[in-house]
């Protein structure tokens, strides 16, 4: 197993070049969307909602939007690349090569992380002017950004392998990724929820990604960040094992 083989590097480059060539759609558009969320929710709720003492709602919202952008775009990159390649048939160019399952998995996930983190950075830069943000634990910010991007890149890969039609992928995105993202505390603290939904939120792995990420900024969180990083890491390992198993078996790729 050679993670830095020329073949692996080429696939990372190709998957990155693919989204970079349409950066207006893949990077600029999601940054604009996140800014609209900030403008609308920030304007409506600023001064009405206080989540953490000494933290304005807009400041609270920005890390949530950054993380949401990272997650959604990491998922979009690997899933859309794979489903497009499957449906148009050009996935054969990758399947005919000596690339191993590990190399294919790692390349798709790394490129997905690159897009997710590029959009997240863009959202951060574009929104940071709207509120004063502190950086209490920068390392946690980086750790949760990387883990979140890797998890959603892996989920995108799994969805791309599983889906055989665009509407199946859309269903995966709309009925799984979107609810998990919006119910993860991007716009609120889960402690403002009724007890039932508070319990449900603790079953959502996305909640731990956003809560841990926000901890890096404010030094405050709903859950201990060590617990969050353990849960998120465990989730990443489980998903990675599943994705690699699917690739190795050729599930819906090699018939």
């Amino acid at each position: 197993m050679n993670f830095i083989s020329a073949g692996f590097r080429t696939l990372v480059y190709k998957e990155s070049l693919r989204f970079w060539k349409v950066a207006t759609q893949t990077i600029a558009a999601p940054i604009l969307t996140a800014m609209l969320y900030l403008l609308i929710f920030g304007h409506v709720l600023e001064g009405r909602v206080t989540v953490y003492a000494g933290v304005t709602y807009t400041a609270f919202l920005i890390p949530g939007l950054v993380m949401m952008s990272i997650l959604q775009n990491a998922f979009a990159n690997s899933s859309s690349s794979l489903i497009q390649s499957k449906i148009t048939g050009n996935l054969v160019f990758v399947l005919l090569t000596p690339l191993s399952h590990w190399e294919i998995f790692s390349a798709y996930v790394i490129a997905a992380m690159a897009r997710g983190l590029a959009v997240g950075l863009g959202v951060f830069i574009a929104t940071t002017w709207f509120a004063h943000l502190s950086f209490v634990w920068p390392l946690w910010i980086v750790v949760f950004a990387l883990l979140g991007a890797a998890i959603l890149g892996t989920m995108g890969l799994i969805a791309g392998i599983w889906a055989e039609k665009f509407d199946q992928l859309a269903a995966f995105q709309n009925f799984l990724i979107m609810p998990l993202t919006f119910l993860s505390g991007v716009f609120y603290s889960i402690h403002s929820l009724p007890p039932f939904w508070l319990t449900i939120s603790h079953l959502n792995p996305f909640f731990y990604m956003i809560d841990g990420f926000r901890y890096g900024f404010f030094g405050q969180s709903d859950v201990n960040p060590l617990v969050s990083v353990a849960i998120v890491s465990g989730f990443l390992v489980a998903l990675s094992l599943l994705a690699i198993r699917l690739l190795r078996s050729g599930y819906r790729l090699r018939h």
Binding site: T10, Y13, K21, T88, F93, L96, P98, R254, H255
Partner: protein, 304 residues
């Protein structure tokens, strides 16, 4: 050395037996034809060789490397031109070829990429996006992609389907050169005249089974021989010649027969018999059997 060893390969799609125990050995340096009607299992077999489809039973090895257990080495030895006209719309021709080369670990391969593009008349399209190419040009890029890593075994699945004469000539010139240089070539095509012109040995598949496997010359000689067509304006065949008739017809001006002959010397004997019986030959034509005749005979009978 055996370039491709196919051993008892079976593949079933629900109730359809796509391949029923196919075994073939294609030697290094051969120009080998894989022929058969639609649905015979040719593309399934090629997809199994390429590792795109997994067989239910049996095995395939490329230069001794099993396509499943040792897929990395097997795929390095293999270049496949798929039948479907697929392309990645994000990239130019040169980017497409550089990426494909890179997947095989060849990061600095521009000299060979330029040579492949030159030989396939793609040089002036190098920086054109794949979307902007005609179907024929896309087909050339598919061929170029299969060759970027200089594979010793080249598999072409219907490479000239729907393309113009110019590409066919360009393609066959280049592929023939590669074959002369030692590359093994496996071809499937619906253009039997192409197979006859290019392939030294052929296998014919029918319903997932190999129904003929021989050298082209031997197949043509063994199965059909030649046809002597005679149109008789007066008289008829003598009884001792009737067993040679393959296609009896009645023409406007008399009786028309196609007679099977194995050697040219038989022509004189037949003409002598007809003259002595009083028959008058109005028209006569000698036709060499071709692959199409053989193909039709085999597909009719199901075996040689």
């Amino acid at each position: 050395m055996t370039a491709i060893q196919i051993s008892n390969v079976e593949k079933r799609y629900k109730s359809l037996q796509a391949l029923g125990g196919v075994s073939l050995a294609i030697e290094e340096g051969e120009f080998f034809g894989l022929l058969g009607p639609n649905g015979a299992g040719k593309t399934t077999l090629i997809s199994i060789i390429a590792g795109l489809i997994r067989p239910d039973a049996g095995s395939v090895a490329i230069h001794g490397h099993d396509v499943t257990a040792d897929f990395r080495n097997a795929r390095k030895k293999l270049g496949v031109v798929p039948q479907e006209l697929v392309f990645d719309p994000f990239f130019t021709v040169r980017e497409t070829l550089r990426l494909q080369s890179g997947y095989f670990g060849l990061a600095n391969n521009d000299a060979w990429i330029d040579e492949v593009m030159h030989n396939l008349d793609l040089t002036n399209k190098a920086d054109v996006n794949m979307r902007a190419l005609s179907g024929g040009m896309k087909r050339r890029v598919l061929v170029a992609q299969a060759l970027v890593h200089k594979p010793p075994v080249i598999v072409l699945d219907e490479p000239t389907a729907g393309v113009d004469v110019e590409l066919r000539q360009t393609l066959w010139k280049f592929i023939s050169r590669l074959n002369r240089e030692g590359h093994t070539v496996v071809l499937t095509t619906h253009y039997l005249e192409e197979a006859q012109a290019m392939c030294k040995r052929v296998a014919m598949l029918k319903s997932g089974q190999v129904v003929a496997l021989d050298s082209m010359a031997s197949l043509i000689r063994r199965i059909s021989g030649s046809q002597l067509m005679v149109n008789l304006s007066h008289g008829d065949l003598t009884d001792d010649l009737r067993h040679l008739v393959t296609h009896p017809e009645t023409s406007e001006h008399g009786k028309k027969y196609s007679l099977r002959i194995n050697e040219y010397a038989e022509v004189e004997q037949i003409l002598t018999r007809l003259r002595t019986s009083g028959a008058v030959i109005d028209e006569m034509q000698l036709q060499q059997a071709d692959l199409e005749d053989i193909f039709l005979q085999i597909m009719d009978k199901g075996t040689v």
